[in-house]
Amino acid sequence: MNLRTKVPLLAISILLSTTLVSGVILLFMLRVNMESEAKLRAKTFLDALAVSATEDLATGRIDSLDRMVTTLTDYDLEQLDVRFVQVLSPERRVIAHSKQFYYGRVADDEFSIEAVNADEPILRDAYQNKERILMVSRPLVTQIDDLPGIRWGTLTTALGLDRLQRMMAHSLIGIITGVVLASILSAALLISLLNTQLIKPLDNLTEAAASYGHGNLGTRAKIYGKDEISMLATTFNQMADTVENHTRNLEFQILERTHELQSANKLLADLNERLNELAITDGLTGLFNFRQFQDTIRKELVRAKRLRIPFSLLAMDVDFFKQFNDTYGHPSGDIALKKLASVMKERLRESDILCRIGGEEFSAILPGTWHEAAIGLAQELRMSLEKSELINEAGQKIPGITISIGVATFPDHADNVSDLINAADSALYLAKQRGRSQVASAANISKTQG
């Protein structure tokens, strides 16, 4: 059960209880008051009758007494009905009665016995023919010079309380109707007040909190007034403002840090890439280094075997490079090497892999290249290099360099890496032996060695 149901129910319960209790108390007070009033009227009524009745008895005017009690039957005594009035003798004989046939009879009912023996007026509640009646008695006593005189008899009457009870019933209906109407109106007013002053602001606050909880940091509660709930809403809004500011600052800082991190990562990636390049390339020529050469040739051999395709290996070495360095200096040597790399890159295919594996030693892996094609390509490289010009640091033209090339091919000359490298090296050696600046085939080595 939610607050929207609980609070009005509680309020209505309290309201109804309070109103009902008030109604019951009011009714009780009304009843007590009316009964007290009825008894007072009854007593006053008998006091008044007693004067005349005693006078009649003392003077023997029973006729007068008869007339009086007869005319009192059903006398309207302000909501009280006089059911009968009778005068009893000390021996309880009926001296006068508002109804015929009772004269001379001895009243032997309990009330008459009590009344005749009592020295004071008595009042008793009783029921007669299902009607609630008030039995009242009063001794009829004269007085002689402040001394008690003769007790002539006792005046008794029965007063019907039906009309009084009906009036009380009407009052009760009126009170209940009033209570119910007042309760309904009060409940409606209370519910309306609770709805506008409590439930609605709380709902608003709850919705705002829920929305805020779902991440809508811009959500704010409506402020309805200056009560506690409004103060709570204001506090909530202040808290939301604070949290939003913190969050925005945090997001900005995170963004900043993210940017910084991204930059750092990019730099790191660049550096890694560069490092990687440095790890597998030669710093002077930009060609792959020996480690990359070894890695590549192994992979190429695996690929060639799997695809059953050939590949060739060129082992290249600059001729008389020591003398060149000694003659033109190392910077010129470096220029020569760079030139060599540039020319070979230019002449080789994109799929070919060119590596610097030593000071003036180079290798080229030629995937999918048969041996004759490799010999031809090697010749082109050698000739292109011979035709190229070298300019030193000072911008002076210096003599070019030549290279010797040994060519070996898988699977013609070897079926593993080391044999293939050895075959290419042997062919290179052969080219060196034959006078340098030439291309030698691993096939020739076999013939020569064979």
């Binding site: 023997g60 009192l72 021996e91």
Partner: protein, 332 residues
């Protein structure tokens, strides 16, 4: 005759309801006055009605003082019973007046009147007819007080028949047998005779038989035993008969003969007024509202006290007697 009829009309209608509807506004006004008076604080018991003893010019205040007050009363049994029955009263009067009281039992009322007249008695208790007789002899005699029996200063005389007699009208009694108590009895002789005369029946001439039984109880027994057709008695007589075990439910009240004043207390008029006053006060304060009064009156049964009275209170009896004498030619 008209006076007689008027008298009997009052008697007959005592308990016969009239249509008082037309009087209701008046009675309502009267009641309102009563209520108003009560509200204004009239809660004290009313004073007993003042009785002015009319002293004629011939009746000068007496001067006689006595050492002893002699109280005469007729016995209602043996003299001893009477003496013990009235002793309480005598003691109380003696206590209040400070004068010794001597009880004198007198069997005959005529004798009592004679003794009173001859100053042999100072106080006497006289039934209505006897009082009137004494008044004839002693014009200055006054009934200072009247006995109050069971709350009333008068009693009601009846003509009773058996329920199974088939008699429901006085006129049916013509030719029947009438039972009376005794001569000189108000309810037991005079009033029933007058009642019969009201319906045109002269008891002595028109009834088959008129019998004096000596007591109310005997009359009632005679009616129940069908010895007579109708009997004369009074309200307390019926109650006594009921208490004696007689089947009073078998009786029907055919007519009310009248409402008759009870015994008068008379004090000799030649006594010193101070003594008379003391005696009157003694009787007036002797009642059932005090323990002393109840003790003193106890032996007298339903007597509850003595109310101040006057001669006019006995006019009913006087006029009835006069009417009877006129109508019956002085039979009483």
């Amino acid at each position: 005759m008209a006076n007689f009829l008027q008298l009997n009309s009052i008697a007959l209608t005592t308990k016969i309801r009239m249509n008082w509807t037309s009087l209701r506004p008046v009675s309502t006004f009267v009641l309102a006055c009563f209520v108003g008076a009560a509200v204004l604080g009239c809660h004290r018991p009313p004073k007993e009605p003042e009785t002015t003893i009319t002293t004629t010019e011939a009746c000068q205040p007496g001067k006689r003082t006595v050492p002893v007050l002699r109280l005469g009363a007729t016995p209602f049994g043996s003299s001893n019973v009477m003496l013990s029955g009235y002793q309480g009263i005598a003691d109380y009067v003696e206590q209040v007046t400070g004068i010794p009281v001597e009880l004198v039992a007198i069997d005959d009322y005529a004798d009592m009147t004679a003794q009173l007249k001859s100053q042999q008695l100072e106080i006497a208790l006289l039934p209505p007819l006897e009082y009137l007789a004494a008044k004839e002899l002693m014009p200055c005699l006054q009934p200072s007080l009247t006995t109050v029996q069971d709350g009333q200063t008068k009693y009601t005389g009846y003509l009773v028949v058996r329920c199974d007699s088939g008699i429901d009208d006085v006129r049916q009694l013509n030719g029947g047998k009438l039972g009376l108590v005794s001569k000189n009895s108000a309810s037991g002789d005079l009033f029933p005779r007058v009642r019969l005369l009201a319906d045109g029946i002269n008891a002595d001439l028109d009834m088959e038989q008129v019998v004096y039984f000596g007591s109310h109880l005997a009359v009632i027994e005679a009616v129940l035993s069908k010895t007579i057709d109708v009997g004369a008695t009074f309200d307390a007589g019926l109650e006594i008969a009921r208490r004696e075990g007689l089947d009073t439910k078998a009786l029907s009240i055919l007519a009310i003969t009248g409402r008759i004043p009870l015994e008068a207390v008379v004090i000799h008029p030649d006594l010193d007024p101070a003594i008379i006053d003391k005696v009157e006060r003694a009787f007036a304060t002797l009642n059932n509202s005090t323990h002393t009064g109840r003790t003193a009156l106890g032996p007298l049964g339903t007597v509850v006290g003595y109310a101040r009275s006057n001669d006019a209170f006995y006019d009913t009896v006087r006029e009835t007697l006069k009417a009877y004498q006129q109508l019956s030619g002085g039979a009483q």
